[in-house]
Amino acid sequence: MGEVLVSLKGADVVSSKDFTRPMVERVFEVADEALRSPERFSGSLSGKRVALLFVEPSTRTYSSFHVAARKMGADVLPLVDPEMTSLAKGESLYDTLKMIEGYGVDCIVMRHPARGAARYAADVVRVPVINAGSGSQEHPTQSLLDAYTIRRKRGSIDGLRIGFLGDLRFSRTVPSLVYTLSLFKDVTMHFIAPPALQVRPEVELHLRKRGVSYDKVEKQSEIPRVVGELDVLYVTRLQKERFPDPSEYERLKGSYRVDMELLSNARPTLGVMHPLPRVDELDPEVDGTPHAWYFEQASYGLPVRMALYHLILGG
C-alpha cells in the first residue's frame, strides 16, 4: 500500500505496517456506519466476486469475511478446505492464485500457513489481496477490529497503556496489533511473557524506529503489578507445543492465566481482550465482569470487514 493515506480503493491489505492513522480512522468511521445502518451497505457489492482462499482452519475470520460479503451482495467463491483445492495435490500457491484470478474475482481474501504468503500473493495477482492470516507473521484485519474495539470502549487510543500477555512470539495477532497501535500517540506497551515466547525482534525494531515506549515483563512476580497499571490487557493462548520442555509449560501456565485473582489488582476500567479461541488462559469467571471485552471484540469482526470491503471494492 505504501503511500496510501486514506483511500483504500483497489489496495492490498497485507501488513499492518503499511497502515496510516488516517486510513485506520477511515476504516473506523465506515465500521461505525455499518453498525449504525447496516442496510445502507446491502447490495453495495452487487456484481463483485470475492474469493475466500483459506488454506488453514478458521472460524471467526472466515465466517465474518463470508457473511460480510454476502450481506453486501457479493458473489463468494469459497476455497476453504485445502483438500478441496489443488494445493493438496502439490500445486504451487502461484498456480492456485492465477487460477482464482482467472475466474474474474475482484478480491482474494487469503489465509495461508506460510509467513510472507500474503505479500507474495499481492505481487502475483492484479486484484486486491486481503491477508486473513499469514502463518505466525500477521493478521492485519484482526488488528483493525482489535483497535476498533479499544476505540469504541475507550473513545480514543491515544495515551493508553496496553499489556500483551501469553505467547507473543508465535501469535499472528500480536505483531499486527502492535503495528496498528504504534500509529497512535503516547501509547505504552508492556510485553508480558517468558523469554522464549517474547515478542519477535522485528516487532521490537519497529517500535524503536517509531519511538514507541515499551518494555518486556519476564518475571512472573511482576505480572500483578503491571496488570494493575494497564488500560487494556490483550491475552493470547499459551500453546503447549511451543515449549521445548512440556514441564516448563505446566510450570508457567498458572502465571499466565487471567482470572479474578489476577484482576483483583486491576483498575476498574481495565478491558481484557482475546482474539479467541481461548483454552485455559482466560477463566470463564471473567466473562461476567465489566473487564470482559472479548465477545464484543469478536462481534466487531463483521462491521470492520464490511468497512474494508466497502473501502477496497466499493465507494
Partner: protein
C-alpha cells in the same frame, strides 16, 4: 612483513583486501567460491591473519583470473565495511568502492523455515531490504530480520 612477500601480485583478477582477520572463509561462502571450481583457469589464494598497517591483522583473498560481480562486492562490503575490492586487468588496478545495496536478491535465504521464500513449490525470488542504519536486513516477505554479521550463515548459491 608485507603480504607481497608471501604471495606475488596478480595480473588479472580480483583482490578482496582488508577483510577482518580470520573471516576469509565467511567471505568465500558469501561469494559462493565453490562455483569457481567450474573454471579450470581460476585460482583462489587466501591469506589469513597477515599484518596490516591500518588494522594490525587482516585476511586477503585473491581471485586469480576471476572478476567478482559488483553485486557480490557490495554484499561483502555490507558485512565487512573495512573491505576494499580491487579489480586487476593486465596489472592495472581499479579500486572499486562498492555502494551499499538497498535490496539483496537471491543470495541470502530467510532464516524462518515457514517463510514463503523457503517454499519448494513456489518460484519465490528471495529478497531482503537493507536497513543500513539499523545493521539488519529484513525479509521482504515475512519481515524476519538478520544482523549483517549473520548473513554469511544464510548465503545460498
Amino acid at each position: 612483513m608485507e603480504e607481497g612477500l608471501l604471495v606475488r601480485k596478480i595480473d588479472w583478477g580480483t583482490v578482496i583486501d582488508h577483510i577482518p582477520a580470520w573471516r576469509a572463509d565467511r567471505v568465500l561462502r558469501l561469494i559462493d567460491a565453490e562455483q569457481l571450481a567450474k573454471d579450470p583457469e581460476v585460482s583462489v589464494i587466501v591469506l589469513k591473519n597477515v599484518p596490516s598497517r591500518k588494522y594490525g591483522r587482516k585476511d586477503v583473498i585473491k581471485l586469480y583470473h576471476h572478476h567478482m560481480s559488483r553485486t557480490d562486492a557490495a554484499l561483502v562490503k555490507l558485512i565487512y565495511p573495512t573491505v576494499t575490492v580491487n579489480y586487476i586487468r593486465d596489472w592495472k588496478v581499479e579500486k572499486y568502492q562498492p555502494e551499499l545495496p538497498d535490496v539483496i536478491e537471491g543470495r541470502v535465504r530467510c532464516p524462518e523455515v515457514t517463510c514463503i521464500s523457503n517454499s519448494k513449490r513456489d518460484p519465490v525470488v528471495r529478497r531482503f531490504r537493507v536497513l543500513k542504519e539499523d545493521g539488519y536486513i529484513q525479509c521482504y516477505y515475512c519481515d524476519a530480520i538478520v544482523e549483517f554479521s549473520s548473513i554469511p550463515d544464510l548465503a545460498v548459491a
